[in-house]
């Protein structure tokens, strides 16, 4: 589980962001005391830091620079100041990415995952396992009890979205939104076709119990 430290002074955002990241399977820590924030953060040995710019005591730029002196941990700067100068400044101080508030949470997640994948190497986070089904995100293949099949980009996206929400019903709209946010602009009909094909492929591998349709609600990977 990747550990993320949230450095943010607005209490609501700090707590909600923490809840949000925990829901998505991260180990999120949000320090409340800013006096010794740099050392405290480094002691946690996080995999990634979400850093606000406007902070009490030290501003984000300073913290970013100080952390960089001691560690190569990825830093994503999150701020409501959306001008190019702040972005440049953050990049120059060694931040890995820059997101402006109010951000789309899915985009924030995607950026976090991209950076973590880059830093931790592709092997660690690219294979997910569901029951006996192994899904390899980087080459788009699935393996079920030794049988292997290739999936298209759309099918991979559908499967990974359902996998992330396994045990929960994902509405068609949410599924489409997830795909759109991954640059796949499918329409309603396409989605049905893709799901049907994906289901056939999984069945061909011998996986009888796979994606289920809940009429009027959406899809679920039980």
């Amino acid at each position: 589980m990747s550990k993320i430290v949230i450095i943010e002074d607005t209490e609501t955002i700090r707590e909600e962001l923490k809840t949000f990241l925990i829901t998505y399977g991260f180990d999120a820590i949000a320090p409340v005391n800013f006096e010794n924030i740099i050392q405290e953060t480094l002691n946690e040995a996080p995999d990634l830091i979400l850093l606000d710019i406007n902070l009490p005591i030290f501003d984000g730029y300073y913290i970013c620079r100080e952390i960089r002196k001691q560690s190569d941990v990825p830093i994503i700067v999150v701020t409501s100041r959306d001008n190019e100068m702040d972005e440049l400044m953050s990049m120059n101080l060694g931040a890995d990415d820059f997101i402006t508030k109010p951000y789309n949470t899915q985009i924030l997640l995607a950026r976090i995952e991209t950076i973590l994948r880059r830093v931790q190497g592709s092997s660690m986070r690219d294979t997910v396992v569901y029951n006996d089904l192994k899904l390899n995100l980087s080459n788009g293949s699935v393996t079920y009890k030794g049988e292997k099949a290739e999936l298209t980009k759309n099918e991979i996206k559908i499967l990974s979205c359902l996998y992330k929400n396994k045990g929960k019903i994902v509405s068609r709209e949410d599924l489409m939104d997830f795909m759109w946010n991954a640059d796949v602009f499918v329409d309603d009909n396409n989605l049905s076709v893709n799901v049907t094909r994906l289901r056939k492929k999984l069945e061909a591998l011998g996986m009888e119990k796979n994606i289920e349709t809940r009429r009027g609600l959406g899809y679920i990977l039980p």
């Binding site: 609501t12 409501s80 109010p102 602009f185």
Partner: protein
Amino acid sequence: MTFKEYVKDRAVFLLINCILFIIIGGIMILVRMNDQAVFLIFCIWFFPLISYILIEYFKQKTFYNELTGIMDNLDQKYLLPEVMTEPETMEGQVLYEVLRQANKDMHEHVKGYRDRENEYREYIETWIHEIKTPIASTRLIIENNQTGVTRNIQEEVKKIEEYIEQVLYYSRSNNVSKDYLIKEVSIVDLVRGVIKRNSRDFISKGISIDLEKVEGTVFSDAKWLEFILNQLIGNAIKYIRERDGKVIIHTVRNENNIVLTIEDNGIGISEKDIYRVFEKGFTGENGRKFGRSTGIGLYLCKKLADQLGLGLTITSKMGEGTKVSIIFPLGSENFIQ
């Protein structure tokens, strides 16, 4: 200034001289003085007088001609006192001083307004910066508590955000030069980003999107472009009323420019309205019928596009759809003038 006008101005002076001469001449004739003596007196009297008037006339004429010449060529007329030659005559100097003082006072007055405007602008920008924090919190709260209710709230929050963004760009639109960064921008990435921002609307209205033929890069400011594009795509979504909505985005590369076109099959704009859509506050028939139109969006787009040196054109057919094109000139002219 003509000679006639000039003489008319000095009519009293000339008249007094004439009357005086007639009286003196009359007296001289009465005391039977020589006619030649009278003529001599006339010459001695009037020759210098007329020469003086003529010389003065030419002097003044050159001065005023130069002045009006400068005035005509000046871009900012109020700079006249700074560039004009200082007059030599006493009257001229008095006027010159008065003009300078009036001008100085006007400058201070204008500066007062400029300061006030800047202050207001700065306030608006800080305000926008601050309101983004509660909005970000709201979004996260919604994300963590997803129900039908919060989803509806999310839709409304998105609208609030769009209006806030409009305010930000409106306040910046008069002063682009302070806030832009020209970079190479990939049109595909830009378009995709904006579509993602509006993905929920596309999906919930069942609008399909086609961006197969989008390609190319341009040099411009990504943020401003994104704002313009977001307004245009937002409009496309807003005015699609039928089922089977479709938005087609494509680029065409010409010799001198790249044209990015956003095409929808929405309700379209009537012929009498289409020429006025870029006017500030113009809402037209569609605005009246469907509401939620402020008449600011397209006006701002046009204004920002102009400042970025981009073209913005719109064509539409009632009931068939609307096509909006952004024209990116290629080459050096694609920078802010």
